[in-house]
Amino acid sequence: MPKQPNKIIKDRKIIDDSWSVVSDDVDKNDIPADGDIIFSVDFWVKNQKHLESRSNGRLGLMLESTDEINLFSDNLGLFDIISINFPAFADGRGYSVARLLRERYHFQKEIRAVGDVLRDQLFYMYRCGFNAFAIREDRCIEDALNAYNDFTVTYQAASDNLNPIYRRA
């Protein structure tokens, strides 16, 4: 699970990150009782009852690019964030996962790109439904904001614009 930087881009702004990651080896009795926590799909499947019974704090999922959505799709409403990990810059699976979450499962909350995330993927990620980006810590997060403006015209239907160019007014 990648380390979360302290600052992220969300909805075109740089903000402090409020989420803490709970790693897979944490015992269910050691799960923090409050605060916003994020964990893997495995962890969710294993500790679902316990996690649901927390009274304070929000829940979030951290997906690997191979995770199947149907493992948690029945409970999507319980999550305030879904992070999708990019193990490498050139691993494109997360783009499909984000579009499916947005366009097929109508997940409306935060979808965050984490891992090997650089300015140069941001525009496509944004088009695929990501609204938050944990830019790799060794890179300038302010510079990454510019990527929203890389293109002003697009051809395809995607999460940012459900109509392809031939159906736009």
């Binding site: 810059f89 699976r93 499909s96 995607a158």
Partner: protein, 553 residues
Amino acid sequence: MYIYSEHDQKILDERVAQFRGQTERWSAGDLTEDEYLPLRLQNGLYEQRHAPLLRVCAPYGNMNTQQLRKLAHIARTYDKGYCHITTRTNIQFNWPAIKEVPNILEELATVQMHAIQTSGNCIRNTTTDHFAGVALDEVEDPRPWCELVRQWSTFHPEFAYLPRKFKIAVCASTEDRSASLVHDVAIHIVKNDAGKVGFKIFVGGGLGRTPLVAAPIHEFLNQEDLLSYLEAILRVYNRYGRRDNKYKARIKILVKALTPAAFKKQVEEEWAHLKDGPIKLTAEAIAESKSYFQDPDYENLPAENEELKQKISTDRAFGNWYRINTHAHKKQGYRIVTLSMKKTAVAPGDVSDQQLEDIADLADQYGYGEVRATHDQNLVFSDVKQADLFNLWQALEKLGFATANIGMITDITCCPGGHYCALANAQSIPIAEAIQRRFDDLDYVYDLGELSLKVSGCMNACGHHHVSNIGILGVDKKGKEYYQVSIGGTTRQKSAIGRIVGPSFERTDVVDVIEKIIQTFVDNRHEGETFIQVYDRLGMMPYKERIYAKATQ
């Protein structure tokens, strides 16, 4: 030909600016070599043996003369005065300086050209028949569909980081002139029993280490569903294609592992969600794309031209050229002309700045200002009046593009190989030249008839050797160049992968081996049979026996 809308131009200009920024960050050290790599690849910029290589896209092979002149200018200004037509109907520059590439792209953008997605693990330039729109045997013009696919695939945000490259070909004719079945996806335009035009979809073809012919997965797709179906295929591939081993990452491996039937099932489950969504093509979108590919203002000309007939019978060289390098045209009084870029001792597909300009002048004079690149590395003028053929032939003779060998043994397709390519195991261009020299008797070449010969410098198979009647592949054996020879590949009437004849040969023996294969064919053929027909009838044995006879003496 397609003309950019204001949107197309805007996207392209923004791309040039984006790439300029990326290149600047790379040279300032803000992007590492590894990070810059996929970015520059998506812009057609490779590292190779001596210098970077820039691959410029000719969408489905079409170019106008303004674009040719721009390519000439770029060859002269930024390169060594020539460029190269690739087997994917693109144009390569072999010696640009990386720092100049943003400037080159900016120049290209002024004539609606670019290098977008000409390399990298993304959807590449869609290819089609170089006789599209003028062929006698097509259901309808495939180019409007290519253009719709081009727009859909350009900067597709979901499919920019696929497991591996992805190539789509569209075929609308009885004879498959684009080798469509060795592409990741082949779209065949077909007419069903009710007379309706739609698509038959094939997946999982490809060359390289595991050459495979694509398998059909959908018999008849309605026109408005083309892009949703492609999107479903790509999504399944993007999610489930292998990423752990680059040699097993093409879609063909996934299709083979799952079986075509199981792959189809996954695609169609996905497609069910997309089919009637906004991606569905509208009648207006289809009509608009078609509006760009209307016939030029053809004249009403007589079918027969007496003067031409007479020239054909009296001037033998012209007659040969007419028979071999020109093809029937759907419009009476016109012919399709192929310019042979396969003159002996010229690297197949190489063309100089001056030649590009001369070709542009001829295309303006005789060919409605348009030129097409073919996957056999030749150029085509698609609409030439019969009455102009003799003059055009004379002009092409002077330029060296009238070698009457299209489709013959000396019309060799050949990758750049060890001359330029960093991946090459062996030279390919000198092999092509040696074969052309051996078969220099034109009458003998004509007597051999239709026969394809293709050379690749390594297993990447850019020369398409697998699907050639005779294929030659450079291999490395303990640091020494060897050549593997295969026979029986074809893509035209049907698609088949050639079979390797046996142990590979040293460079000095290759031409003799080819000659033995040809002699075996000549000795065994029945009246009127082509090379591939004889091979299909006899199988490999007689060729093998002849080739290896000496070695066992």
